[in-house]
Amino acid sequence: MGRYVIRRLLQMIPVFIGATFLIFVMVYALGDPVAALFGDKAPDPATAARIREDLGLDKPLWQQYLHYMGNIFRGDFGTAFNGQKVTELMASAFPVTMKLTFVAIVIEIIVGIALGVVSGLKRGRPLDTSLLVLTLIVISVPTFVSGYLLQLLFGLKLGWVRPTVSSDAPLNELILPGIVLALVSLAYVTRLTRTSIGENARADYVRTAVAKGLPRRRVITKHLLRNSLIPVVTFIGADIGALMGGAIVTERIFNIHGVGYQLYNGILRGNTPTVVGFVTILVLVFLVANLLVDLLYAVLDPRIRYA
């Protein structure tokens, strides 16, 4: 187990370097950050050159990358052009997004798995069919549509919640955005659980559990569910990373000042340190989430332990 974790951690290094370098190149290709700094005005060439030299932008790309990575490992993510430290931005943005992701994941797990189990056990019945249609609708409606619709309905028409989230983003205000963020994944979790339950319900070991005279509830929770959740856990784990980075739309709809919001602004202003810094952290989150999934996978299925 220990060796496996170490091997996996080592594997993260090339992935991390590759991912960050790609982002660095892409952001660099977005355009001239110095020009973006001046906004609509054309910069004085001499001043621009001086700024470039100050910021090290006149050096070759690989040198800039190495310099940047060196700073990151010293905990220095650089400064945004407005003078704010990127780490400060992160300190304010990541907790908010993490809270939002947490709300979304919890909804996804509870509602998605519950619906999936019910659907899988009632395969082919009207309830199952209507759930299938419902999930299909949810999957096909883009987040910005469902987001604005729910905001309009619950925030403005019914007035049950605040239409936008205040700056300290308390959990109760994040429930509606959490639902919006979770919707599509929730539909996938439902479908995945349904298929998995439906398949495993016919397995021999479930028949054995029934033949042992176990109550139906126990057969489902102890024998059927644990086997069926293995693929679902994989999906949810990978989804943690995706939700954190993918909350851009939801965060804009509900005016949440999280990672998506900062990234959006960073990209708009060609702000390399912000974008690369945030994405670097996201890459790390993604890698760690995946590692945790794989470890959890081994916990759920003893056959792949010590692999």
């Binding site: 070991y205 028949r207 033949a211 056959r303």
Partner: protein
């Protein structure tokens, strides 16, 4: 389990509370499956009885309805698509088909247990064998986790799994095929049921292990005086352990007999064909006999005797009249207890 203490010092034999009849009696059982291609009639009027301490071997090809009958007895048929349109299954004189789901559940595992064919797929891959064994005690007897584990170790010792204590937390995939089947047996034995149904318990094992597992099963059966229904298609396995045999074909019992008599003098052409198709050392070099044709499609069972298209003795009557299970007698009419044959020409088969 609630056992009533008898005043006598001699322990009452198991399974003899107040009911004198056979442990299990299956009467005119019918099972059908409703599929897209029509109704498959898997079991068509099966009758058999098993008493305490007795071993009934149910013999038949795949699709002869032997496993389905067993599943109907256990109450683990998938319904739907399965349906039991007719029949009764008496356990200690009570018709289980009329019981509530919860009453039946309490019989399962506690009074009637089942051993399945493929132990690898029949054991839950993600739960330790100790947990799966202990579960029986936790659910049926309300023991604590720790007590259940101790019982599980005891059971594993009982079925002769070496180093039971060390292996109780292992998972099914960490055991060999023979050991896994022992665990299945241990699980069935856990609550010392009155009846065990073993559905091809040795099919997935190699020959030497087969013998070990069968011996173990027979030994434990004697020890606990349990009824045993042994479902198999292996005539060799049956000979050593069974008391009586029921041969099934297309959902019907075509012949019943005490075990050795069946081998000596089969009274049904199908049984005869089965016995002739066993390879024998003294017939080395000759072509092995095989019953011609294939088992019938259960959605379209032939009219008359279901075996008639494959039967070397078939006459016109076999294509029109379904033969009842005739009592088989000696040539002079002397009784042969326990023998029966569902063949219009049983006399010619046994005496001819």
């Amino acid at each position: 389990m609630t056992t009533i203490d008898k005043t006598s010092s001699v322990p009452a034999p198991r399974g003899s509370d107040d009911f004198g009849g056979p442990l299990l009696e299956v009467r005119d059982l019918h099972v059908e499956f409703h599929t897209r291609d029509g109704v498959a009639k898997a079991v068509n009027g099966v009758n058999y009885t098993v008493s305490a301490g007795e071993t009934l071997a149910v013999l038949g090809e795949s699709g002869s309805g032997k496993s389905v009958t067993a599943q109907a007895i256990m109450g683990i048929l998938d319904m739907p698509p399965g349906r039991i349109p007719k029949g009764e299954i008496f356990f200690r004189g009570e018709d289980m088909l009329k019981m509530s789901a919860d009453e039946r559940r309490k019989i399962r595992g506690r009074k009637i247990a089942m051993i399945f064919q493929d132990a690898l797929s029949s054991l839950n891959p993600v739960l330790s064998v100790g947990y799966q064994l202990g579960e029986m005690f936790r659910v049926h007897q309300g023991l604590s986790k720790k007590e259940a584990k101790a019982k599980a170790i005891e059971l594993m010792d009982k079925v002769k799994i070496p180093a039971a204590k060390a292996r109780v937390d292992d998972y099914p995939h960490q055991f060999s095929g023979g050991m896994r089947q022992r665990i299945m047996i241990a699980m069935a034995l856990a609550l010392e049921p009155d009846l065990i149904i073993a559905d091809e318990p040795t099919t997935a094992l190699d020959v030497t292990v087969q013998a070990q597992v069968m011996d173990l099963l027979a030994e434990l059966q004697r020890e606990y005086n349990m009824g045993l229904i042994l479902i198999t298609h292996d005539l060799g396995v049956v000979a050593d352990v069974a008391d009586k045999i029921a041969v099934m074909y297309a959902g019907r019992i075509v012949e019943t007999a005490p075990v050795h008599e069946l081998y000596k003098r089969p009274a049904h052409p199908y049984t005869k064909g089965l016995l002739d198709s066993i390879p024998r050392l003294d017939q080395k070099g000759q072509e092995l006999y095989a019953i011609k044709g294939l088992p019938p499609n259960l959605t379209r069972i032939p009219s008359g005797c279901a075996f008639n298209p494959r039967c070397p003795m078939a006459q016109d009557i076999c294509r029109t009249d379904i033969p009842a299970l005739f009592p088989v007698t000696e040539r002079d009419g002397g009784e042969l207890p326990g023998r029966g044959s569902a063949c219009h020409f049983w006399k010619e088969t046994i005496h001819g």
